[in-house]
Subunit: 329 residues, 2 copies
DNA sequence: TTGTACGCGTTATCAG
DNA sequence: CTGATAACGCGTACAA
């Protein structure tokens, strides 16, 4: 790898001059600029980001911490982040936390050790010292923190919509799957749904789950129908769980949506491909990723930020696990 | 952030001594070690990886280049890489290439600018200068390169198995979906299947596709059944395409697997959840990621490598888009 | 308009 | 066993 020194020698100038043309700063004569540029071309020189980073105490790297890239929801998020960052010449160091505080802390630490200029984290523990003591901007994505920059979708509203639509379509004994207690968006969804149902005086059961793993989801789905065999509507905490419920319902010989309606959350690719295809509350995952990246960049560049918190809209995506509502005049 | 200098001052020693205890190199008196360690603890000091990287001209970072993390096959790969790397204290800079040579080159360049010690790339263009001129080890993952370190699964054998099983289950007018021309594993699968079918003198059609996007897959699926309405067996280039074919077949009122059998490739989560669930040739994606990471680490540490090329086995995963073969005595 | 020299935080060499 | 100090590649005062 050629260094700035090589370029300087090759062009017959000093490193300072090379640096000037590189960074387009200060005055440099047109002729010498040409020489330098020629040298850069010949040597195929590209600046060493590490040296830059050391000197400036900041890199062009940002850290992205996700629970598990293997969960279909997160790649969308990640891709949104990546695209926006790439367009702005930032690169990404990525890590999977498995919702494990220790791993999380470890990653955040190596992020700072590598001089990242900011981080995007999807964490359930935004209020730990890990983040509080950080002196780089952090945007919380999906999993929210009060009064901290964050991008998330309106889970509560999503829950409300789900409940509302399900009732409108005739379910009367609804079961809400509550999702992991420590996962805030899951709780928001639950709350929203529960509120509506309570308001309308409609009976509902609650099933608590503790992870998003598909195999475990199957177990809970079984329990659900054992405990509440008469459930005629299930509001799941996400599409993975909804899928497990759908499979179990079908396995039990129930007709979906006639015997039991199901509404998921997220709208991952899978959802539209199931048979019957899954009605769900869609989160704009890709756009959330982009928004988070965009917000982080603003934070990094210290621009004035109006809204440090961005809530994205959620949309009812009607498919075949819910009944059609009659079109009256 | 505390620096080594701060620690030195705090402990009343020189930076050299701190460096020694940090790196456990050379002699250092037990007492002074204690002092230094105490200082490190109090100041919560962690070494600046950037400075280290600058001096040593190598970091603890590796680059991971994937076509598109949004394609369900790649997160598995990525996770395998990440887990293995994490266990060995390497961190990952990730990039999506979209199979775009320019983007690819750009990423590789920023990888080296950041002093990565190695890279894992899933690329269709391993033979470009981008990689040839690189003086860090690169492991090619999934997409293979001759005579270069690589990890891939046996696509040819997979194709053979698919053809064999499909014939054994009675299909007589088979259509092979060939997958993008520039994607080597797709061509291997095609070749394997075509070989078997030719050998056995069985008629087959070929449909060529040019991407793995799901929406486009739908179009090809339509074309397939328009052109070859009597097809009674489809060997798809991957599970995404197979899913599109399944949907189209069902839409046309065909019975699967009675009228038409379908075999996919990869075994992504989706496949087991479809109705009917998808018979497929499974690739051990996660393990492939881990193997690639492991191989790269060996390359980095310059250990003796016996097999620079690792071919992973592929397994026939029988589900419900193929008929059951009779169990004779 | 250009060059010299220092510092970013570390490691390694070489005296002591 | 420990401490100065040069060097890694770059950017920027400051001088010329």
């Amino acid at each position: 790898m050629a260094t700035i020194k090589d370029v300087a020698k090759h062009a017959g100038v000093s490193v300072a001059t090379v640096s000037r043309v590189l960074n387009e700063i200060g005055y440099v004569h047109e002729d010498t600029r040409k020489k330098v540029e020629a040298a850069i071309g010949e040597l195929q020189y590209t600046p060493n980001e590490v040296a830059r980073s050391l000197y400036k105490r900041k890199s062009r790297l940002i850290g992205l911490l996700l629970p598990d890239i293997t969960n279909p929801f997160f790649p969308e998020l990640a891709r949104g982040v990546e695209d926006e960052m790439h367009e702005n010449d930032f690169r990404i160091i990525i890590g999977n936390s498995d919702e494990n505080i220790k791993k999380e802390k470890e990653y955040i630490q190596t992020f700072v050790q590598n001089n990242v200029v900011g981080a995007i984290a999807s964490t359930n523990h935004p209020d730990t010292d890990t983040y509080r003591k950080l002196n780089i901007p952090v945007v919380f994505l999906d999993r929210t923190a009060d009064n901290r920059p964050s991008v998330y979708s309106d889970g509560r509203e999503g829950g409300r919509i789900a409940a509302h639509e399900m009732v409108a379509r005739g379910s009367r004994e609804i079961t809400i799957i509550q999702g992991p207690k420590h996962v805030r968006p899951a709780q928001d969804r639950y709350q929203g749904a529960a509120d509506i149902l309570s308001d309308q005086g409609i009976l509902f059961n609650v099933v608590q789950t503790s992870s998003y793993s598909f195999t475990e989801a199957g177990t809970w789905a079984k329990e659900l129908f054992e405990q509440y065999p008469n459930t005629d509507g299930v509001i799941a905490s996400n599409d993975i769980v909804a899928t497990a419920v759908l499979h179990e319902a079908l396995r039990l010989g129930k007709k979906v949506p006639d015997d039991v309606q199901i509404i998921g959350f997220d709208d991952i690719l899978l959802s539209s491909l199931l048979t019957p295809s899954l009605t769900t509350i869609r989160q704009p995952a890709y756009d959330m990723g982009r928004a988070a990246a965009s917000l982080l960049i603003q934070l990094i560049e210290n621009q004035n930020i109006d809204h440090k918190t961005i809530q994205m809209p959620v949309t009812f995506t009607e498919r075949d696990t819910t009944r059609k509502v009659e079109q009256h005049g």
